[in-house]
C-alpha cells in the first residue's frame, strides 16, 4: 500500500491505496466522484477523461500512485459547486443548447476535452474540434451536435471575457 496526496477540484485528498489501483477507480471508489466513467478500461473510448494540470488525459491509463502530488479536475469541478450547485459552465450550457449528448455516458469526457481545447485554442475550426474529440467515442450522437455545441461554446466564450467555468477548480475552494 502507498500513501497518495492528490488535489482534485481544488481539494486535497489523501489516501492509502494499492499500487494497482487506477486513477479512474481511485476517483470513483475512493473519492466518490462518479462523474468520470469507465467505458473500456484500456484507453480507447475516452469516457474516463479528466484534466491533469489543464490537459485532457485518460484516467484509466494512470495509476493513482502515479498521480501522487498532482492536481486534476474532474467533471464535478466544472460548473457551479457548493452554493453555486446547479449553475452550468459555458461549455456545459452549450452542450445543453445544442443537445450534444443523449445517454450522457461519454459526456463528461467530451466536456473536458472541449475545456482543454478551448483553453488552448479559443477559435477552433470544426476540424480542430473533431481532432480534439477524436479520442472520445460516442455511440449516441454521431458527433454532429457535439461539434455544434463546442463551436457554440467557443463563440460564446469569445464574446465574453470569462473563463469557461464559473468556479475554475484550480483556485482555492477549501
Amino acid at each position: 500500500m502507498k500513501d497518495v496526496s492528490i488535489v482534485i477540484n481544488g481539494t486535497v485528498k489523501k489516501a492509502r491505496v494499492e499500487p494497482r489501483l487506477t486513477l479512474l477507480d481511485f476517483l470513483r471508489d475512493h473519492v466518490g466522484l462518479k462523474g468520470t466513467h469507465a467505458g473500456c478500461e484500456h484507453g480507447v473510448c475516452g469516457a474516463c477523461t479528466i484534466l491533469l494540470d489543464g490537459v485532457a488525459v485518460r484516467s484509466c491509463l494512470m495509476l493513482a500512485v502515479q498521480a501522487d502530488g498532482q492536481e486534476m479536475v474532474t467533471i464535478e469541478g466544472v460548473g457551479g459547486q457548493f452554493d453555486r450547485a446547479g449553475e452550468l459552465g459555458v461549455i456545459q450550457d452549450a452542450f445543453c443548447e445544442a443537445h450534444g449528448l443523449q445517454c450522457g455516458y461519454c459526456t463528461p469526457g467530451m466536456v473536458l476535452a472541449a475545456e482543454a481545447l478551448l483553453a488552448e485554442n479559443p477559435n477552433p475550426t470544426e476540424d480542430d474540434v473533431r481532432e480534439a474529440i477524436s479520442g472520445n467515442i460516442c455511440r449516441c450522437t454521431g458527433y454532429v451536435q457535439i461539434v455544434e455545441a463546442i463551436m457554440l461554446a467557443a463563440q460564446r466564450l469569445g464574446s465574453r471575457n470569462e473563463a469557461p467555468s464559473p468556479s475554475p477548480s484550480l483556485s482555492s475552494a477549501s
Binding site: 494497482r20 490537459v55 485518460r58 491509463l61 495509476l63 481532432e131 477524436s134
Partner: protein, 290 residues
C-alpha cells in the same frame, strides 16, 4: 479488468532505477503508461514491481549537440510535438508525432516509452529506425548504445537488456536543406496503422543529395529501415523511386490479420514509401521542375 497486485517505486535517480531493476527480474519500467497500463489491466503484463521513472530529472532533458538532438526517455510526446529544437532539427520526427495516438495519449506517452514498447506500428520507433537514431540504455553501471536500425527485432521485441533502463534517444540532426515525408494509413485516423512510411532526403551545402533515409512500419513485425542507397546515383525520378522501393520491400514478410491482408500491407507499404520519398523530394525541389 483490474491488474494483478504489484509493488510501486518512484526512484529519484537513474542509478536507483537500475538498482531496483537489477534486484527484481520481474520488475518493469513505467514511463507514460499509455501502452503498459492497458496491458496491466488486461493482465497481459504481470510485473511484481513497477519502477516509475517520471521523476528522474535527467530523463526529461532535451539537449542539442553538434550533430544530434538528444531526447530523454521521459520527454512527453506532446512536449516533443511542440519543441522548437525537434521542429528545426528533426523535421521527420515532428511530422510523425502528429500521427501518434490522440491528444490525451500524447499528453502522457513518452518518446522513450514508444521506443521501448516497440509496437510494430509505432511512429516514433519508425522514425528512429529510419534515421538510425542512437538508443542509450543504462544497465547497472554500464551505458549501452544501440543503433535504432538494428534495435527492433520482432513485435514488441528489441535488443534492450532486460535489466536496462532507456535513458535517451539521440536523433541525427537533419542537414540545413532537407526534405521529409511521412504517411500512414489506418482504418480510423490514429488507429494502429496498417502501413506507415517515413522518408528523409538530406542535401549537402552544394545541393547534392548526401543521404536518403527510408523506413516502413506496421507492415511487418517491426519498423525497418530500407536500403535505397541505389537512388543516390539517380535523379530521384518517379520510376527510380518506385523501383528502389519495390525492390527493398520485396523481402519483408508482411503481416496478415483481421484488419488487413499481407498483400495489402505489402502493396500499401510500397505505395506509402514511394509517396513519402516523393514528398521529401518535392519539398526539396519545389522551386524547380521535379
Amino acid at each position: 479488468m483490474k491488474p494483478i497486485p504489484f509493488d510501486y517505486q518512484r526512484p529519484a535517480t537513474l542509478d536507483e532505477a537500475c538498482r531496483l531493476l537489477a534486484a527484481d527480474s520481474n520488475a518493469r519500467i513505467l514511463a507514460g503508461g499509455q501502452s503498459l497500463v492497458p496491458m496491466l489491466s488486461m493482465r497481459l503484463a504481470r510485473p511484481s514491481l513497477l519502477i516509475d521513472i517520471a521523476h528522474i530529472p535527467e530523463l526529461t532533458r532535451l539537449d542539442e549537440t553538434d550533430s544530434q538532438i538528444e531526447i530523454g526517455a521521459m520527454v512527453r510526446q506532446a512536449v516533443a510535438l511542440k519543441d522548437p529544437l525537434i521542429g528545426q532539427h528533426i523535421p521527420l520526427l515532428a511530422k510523425a508525432l502528429e500521427y501518434v495516438g490522440h491528444p490525451p495519449t500524447r499528453a502522457r506517452g513518452t518518446i522513450g516509452g514508444s521506443i521501448a514498447h516497440a509496437d510494430p506500428s509505432a511512429e516514433i520507433a519508425l522514425v528512429a529506425a529510419t534515421l538510425g537514431a542512437e538508443i542509450s540504455y543504462r544497465d547497472g553501471d554500464d551505458d549501452v548504445v544501440f543503433s535504432a536500425d538494428a534495435f527492433f527485432i520482432g513485435p514488441m521485441l528489441t535488443l534492450a537488456p532486460p535489466t536496462g533502463c532507456l535513458v535517451k534517444v539521440a536523433f541525427p540532426k537533419a542537414s540545413a536543406k532537407v526534405g521529409v515525408g511521412f504517411h500512414e494509413v489506418a482504418p480510423r485516423r490514429s488507429d494502429y496503422a496498417l502501413a506507415s512510411a517515413a522518408a528523409q532526403i538530406n542535401l549537402g551545402a552544394d545541393g547534392t543529395v548526401t543521404a536518403i533515409h527510408l523506413g516502413v512500419g506496421s507492415i511487418g513485425d517491426f519498423p525497418e529501415r530500407l536500403d535505397v542507397d541505389s537512388l543516390l546515383s539517380t535523379d530521384l525520378n518517379d520510376a527510380a523511386l518506385s523501383a528502389a522501393v519495390t525492390d527493398a520491400i520485396a523481402m519483408i514478410d508482411t503481416v496478415d490479420d483481421l484488419h488487413a491482408s499481407a498483400s495489402y500491407r505489402k502493396r500499401v507499404g510500397t505505395a506509402l514509401a514511394i509517396r513519402a520519398l516523393r514528398d521529401a523530394r518535392n519539398s526539396l525541389y519545389k522551386d524547380s521542375a521535379a
